[in-house]
Subunit: 376 residues, 2 copies
Amino acid sequence: MDRFTVTYRIVAEDDADAAARAEAIALEDTLEIPRDVVPAGYIEDVVLGQVQSVTASGSGVWTAKIGYHIDAVGRELPQLLNVILGNASILRGVKAVDLTPNDDLHARFPGPRFGAAGLRQLTGRKTGGYVCPVIKPQGSSSETLARLCYLTAAAGADIIKEDHGLANQDAAPFKDRIKACAAAVAQANNERADQGDTSRALYFANIGGHGDQVRDMAYYAKDAGAEGILVIPGLFGFDAINRLAQDAELNLPIMAHPSHLGPYVLSPDHGYGHGMLFGQLMRLAGADISVFPNYGGRFGFSQDECMRIVESCRAPDGIGPAMLPSPGGGMSIDRLPDMAAHYGADCVYLLGGSLLRYGENIGDAIREMRDGLNAA
Amino acid sequence: MDRFTVTYRIVAEDDADAAARAEAIALEDTLEIPRDVVPAGYIEDVVLGQVQSVTASGSGVWTAKIGYHIDAVGRELPQLLNVILGNASILRGVKAVDLTPNDDLHARFPGPRFGAAGLRQLTGRKTGGYVCPVIKPQGSSSETLARLCYLTAAAGADIIKEDHGLANQDAAPFKDRIKACAAAVAQANNERADQGDTSRALYFANIGGHGDQVRDMAYYAKDAGAEGILVIPGLFGFDAINRLAQDAELNLPIMAHPSHLGPYVLSPDHGYGHGMLFGQLMRLAGADISVFPNYGGRFGFSQDECMRIVESCRAPDGIGPAMLPSPGGGMSIDRLPDMAAHYGADCVYLLGGSLLRYGENIGDAIREMRDGLNAA
C-alpha cells in the first residue's frame, strides 16, 4: 500500500452529499484549496488525499475511507495529525474512527519503546495485572508524597504513578518532588530485593512544567532515579510522547494521561473514536501505557468504548508492540475482580484518591489490590 | 480577588444535581480525591477549587462559577489548563465558557507581546483592515511558494501567512522554504519602500517540525528574515505560543491557527465556548492574532459565535493587550465588504486557495482585497 488509510464517520444527507463531504475532507486535510485549482501532477496525484470508499451505515451516517500519502506528512507527528484530522476536526459531522497504517507509517512512527512485553521485564512482574497507586493530592509537600511512594512501593506496587496535577507548584516543586519520590521508591525496592522479591516498583514522574522543557524534565527525572515518565498529550501535544519514546538515551517507558482530551471523544459526531485516540494514536505516539476512564466510574465511558480502547492497545497489526491499557477514574478495590475479568493480566490497574482512606496503612490497600487481581 | 474564576455550562437534572456536579468539577480539576479525604488546612482552604455560584439557565442547563487559587496552577500554562478543564473535559455535560482573570493570572500570564496596537506599528498600516493572503498548497516547491510570497507582498499585502499544512515535507523542507519565502518578502518590501510605501508585509513562517524544536525553528525563521510565527496550539500545545510570546529576544508577533481544535467547540455540551477558546485562551497564551473559521464559509461557526470570539479578542478587561481576530476558511473577495462591516478595521482578513485562480496575476487579487476592505 502506498497510502495509509483513515476511516471517518460522516453525517450526511444522502449518498451524493456523503461522497462530496468525503472529497472535501481529502482536500481539506492536505491541500486546502478549491478542487479546480489543484495543480496537475505530483500535487494532485500524490499529495492530495484519495477517497477510497464511501458506504452508508444507516441513520444518516456514512463511513468513508481516505488514503493519504506519507509525502503529505513528512517525518513529524504534528503534521500527521494535521493530515488525519487537522482542519477536518472543525467540520461538522466528521469523526475519525480508525487508522490503517502502511509501511511508510510504520517506518516513520515506530511506536512504543517497551510495550506490554517490555513492562514485564522492567517490573519483574511475570504474570498478573499491574498494581498502580496514584500519588496525590497536589498541595501536599514533597515529603508527604514521597512517604506515599515509599509505603505503596514497599507493599508491592508495580508502578507508582504521580497524579497528573502534580506539576511544578510551590507546595512541591518538580525537581524537589521528583528527587524525594524517586529516592523513596528506590529505598522500598532495595528492601523488596533484600526480602527476595524479584519484582520492583517503577516510579513514573509526571512532566510538570513548560512545554519546551519536557526533554530536560524527563532527563532530570531519569537522573534522579525515576524509571518512567507520565505525559499529558492533551496539554503538551502527542509529539511530546513521540520524542521521548524515540530517545534511545533516555530509554524510559511512557504513560499517557487523558487530561484535556475529553472533547475529542465525547461527541458521536466529532473528534476521534475511543479506540483510535486512546489506543491507536497513543500507541503510534509511542506510549507504553494508556490511561483512560473506566466504565462505571465518575466518567461516562461505556464498557464497549473501553473494550475498543483495549483492542486497539493490543491489536497485532497496530503500530509497534502492543501497549498496556490502564483504566482508572474513581475505581475502588472491590471492583478489581470484575475489572480483571474484563481487562486481563496485561493491564495497569489505577487506584487513586480512595487509597488515602488507609492513611499510614496504605500498604494494606496495595496488598488488597493484589489479592483482588489474583482473585479474578 | 484571591481567585480567578471559570464559568461552566453544566447539564444537570435539577438544582441539587447541578450543585453536586459543580462541587465535583472543583474537586476533579484540583485535588482529584474523594471529598471526605481532603486534608484540612492549606489543601482544603487554598488548593481546592471553590464553587462560587450555581444558577439555573433553563432547559436542563445550569451555570456554575468556580474560583481557583493560583497555587493550584504554579507558573506554567499546561497546569493552568489542567485546572480550568483538565479532567473535567472528560465529564459529560461540562463546558467551560468564560474566564475571569485575577491579578495573579495577569501577573503570571501577561498575554500578547504586540497585540492589535503593536501590529499597526509593525506593518505601518495605520488604518483599515489587514490584507492577509495564505501561501499554499503543500507539495509546491520552495521556489513556487516564494514566488507567491513575492507577488502578494509586492502588491501590498500586510501579512503573508503560510498555510498551516506547510510543515517539513520533502517538497519544501522547513529551512529551505523559510529562507526562500523570507527573502522574497524582503525583496518586495524593499521595492515598496523604494516606491514610498510606508507600510510593509510581514512574513509569518509556519512552525512545521517536532514539538521540542519549536523554539529553534522560531529562531531560525527570525534569522532568515521572518517577521512573525504561525503556531498550531492544537498540535504543539498552548504553551508553545506562550513561550514564544514571552521570549523578549525572539520578539516576534504570533498568529495562532485553529487546526485540530474543532472538537473543543463543536459540541454544545463539552469543551470550551468559542469566545473562551479562540479569544480568551489564545490571548492568555500570548497570540497576537487568532485565526478562526468565518461564518458562512465551509465550516459551521455561526455569526454569533464569531462575534463572541471578536469580543474576547478585544475585551478591555482581558489578559494583556487586545489581539486581532482573523476570520478565514473559504472566504472570497466579494464577501470582504460584508465582513469588514462586521469585523471592522482591527482584523486580519485571510484569503487562501481562491487566490490561486489569479495565477501570476495574484497581485490583482491583493489589490481587490484592499479595495473590498476600503469599500466597507
